[in-house]
């Protein structure tokens, strides 16, 4: 709510172009600087290291491609990039583009719990001419928190910049230390869409991979959406301020789902380990159930969930995250709880889901199946 009020107020007060010298422009410039200071306060970095982008995806694309470009050798071409197999598609897509342009890319495997294999990741980092390593703070689909601090020392020792995509966890869990670049997305912490944050530490070599003009310290092209930025900053501070309290409440609710779902729905698998999970995300797969039908039926019952099942995606490909974990991809549901979720809502969900799963299994004609 505070974010919405801030957005409406900023539409009146911060509509102007912060790059202009007239009064409203100077006012906008001041508001933008304040927003930058406040984000830096939450992320514990310098304000001049923060650039606002139009999305978390844009922040990742610029960070990845700019780091690769800055360390490209005139004689030997682009270097080697390491990413985990469960990164957000924005990271994998940017790495794929770097690969097309001549970079070598290593995709580090994860275990069945979704955590990156630290030895595999750091072995790859140690390879000659590694110019960038990318590891998310936590996974966006299954909620698994990654061992960022276990790889960051190795990255530092080998002078390899570490990009942490913190979109899934910023405002929800303490940020790891030891990163060189960070990306985040305002809508993930209750801000409006269209705001991303890219942080590049002063010590990191980075060069704008596209024409950037004078905006955002020559790092991001285009007129920044100041009202949305201000609103996102207010939302981030509100999220951070209430984090500990929300963490306890949300863990209790996702814990109920984790504890009870396997008894309520036969042949249901919960993904990832509770010990490494974000408070608000739980992902599970119901065997022999069509994931798309499950999402549609849950929507009819008033529950908005997403799915990593192939049939529930535009591309008809299963979730690369579940595939990398060696997990069942069909019948998948990802529950991401908003902060105001009540216990009644979770109780109702656990009532409705077994009925829907049972009905869909019946309609798939496999009631004869044993265990």
């Amino acid at each position: 709510m505070a974010a919405k009020e801030a957005l409406l107020a900023a539409l009146d007060d911060g509509w102007a172009d912060p790059g202009r010298l007239y009064r409203e422009g100077r006012r906008a410039s001041l508001l933008l600087d304040q927003a930058r200071e406040r984000v830096a306060g939450v992320l514990r970095c310098r304000a001049d290291e923060v650039a606002f982008t139009t999305s978390g995806t844009q922040a990742v694309h610029l960070a990845v491609l700019g780091a690769v470009l800055a360390r490209q050798s005139a004689s030997r071409g682009p270097g080697h990039v390491v990413v985990s197999a469960v990164e957000h598609s924005s990271v994998l897509n940017a790495a794929a583009q770097a690969e097309q342009a001549g970079s070598e890319v290593t995709i580090a495997a994860v275990g069945t719990d979704g955590r990156v294999d630290v030895a595999g990741f750091t072995d790859a980092v140690r390879r000659d001419r590694t110019v960038l390593a990318c590891l998310q703070s936590a996974n966006h689909e299954v909620g698994t928190i990654q061992p960022v601090e276990d790889v960051s020392a190795e990255c530092q020792a080998h002078r390899v910049p570490l990009l942490v995509d913190a979109a899934a966890s910023a405002g929800r869990a303490p940020l790891p230390t030891g990163w060189s670049m960070l990306a985040a997305s305002g809508h993930k912490w209750g801000g409006p869409p269209g705001v991303g944050v890219m942080v590049i530490r002063k010590t990191v070599r980075w060069r704008a991979p596209m024409p950037a003009g004078s905006r955002e310290g020559h790092r991001v092209p285009g007129f920044p959406n100041l009202p949305a930025i201000i609103s996102a900053v207010v939302a981030l501070e509100a999220f951070e301020a209430a984090r500990d309290e929300a963490d306890i409440a949300l863990r209790a609710l996702t814990g109920q789902i984790r504890d009870r779902i396997q008894a309520l729905v036969p042949d249901c698998v919960v993904h990832g380990e509770r010990a490494w999970a974000l408070p608000h995300i739980v992902s599970f797969s119901c065997l022999y159930v069509d994931g798309e039908a499950l999402v549609i039926e849950l929507d009819k019952a008033g529950f908005s969930v997403s799915s990593g099942s192939a049939c529930a995606t535009d591309t008809q490909q299963p979730s690369h995250v579940l595939a990398a974990m060696g997990a069942i991809t069909h019948g998948n549901v990802r529950v991401s709880l908003p902060r105001d979720t009540s216990e009644e809502t979770v109780t109702k969900f656990l009532e409705v889901l077994p009925q829907i799963a049972s009905r869909l299994r019946g309609s798939a004609g496999q009631s004869r199946m044993a265990g």
């Binding site: 290593t106 995709i107 495997a109 072995d123 065997l287 022999y288 069509d290 049939c311 060696g326 069909h330």
Partner: protein, 94 residues
């Protein structure tokens, strides 16, 4: 992109055991190939091998994952010659 795989590589088609049953799930979307496998694996004796033909991309992940969950032995997969899809081999575990 090379993958540092923590998982064992799929079985070699050259040394694959002969299947006792072939399930044709070509053209069927997830979860149907897995449902067909679960329904019919009981038709072969313990230790015998079932072949599943499928072209849904989810099967590539879900056949081995299902074997792991249900304690059957995932033998491996081979791409089909001349058409899209794979032949998966599963040995009944119990």
């Amino acid at each position: 992109m090379p993958v540092n795989s923590a998982q064992p590589p799929a079985g070699q088609p050259g040394t694959a055991p002969a299947p006792s049953l072939c399930i044709d799930a070509l053209g069927r979307k997830c979860p149907v190939p897995i449902i067909m496998l679960a329904e019919r694996i009981g038709e072969v004796a313990v230790g015998q091998v079932v072949q599943v033909l499928a072209d849904d991309p989810a099967a590539k992940t879900d056949v081995p994952a299902w074997c792991g969950l249900k304690s059957h032995d995932y033998v491996g997969s081979a791409e089909l010659a001349g058409e899209a899809g794979w032949a998966f081999l599963v040995r009944r575990g119990y």
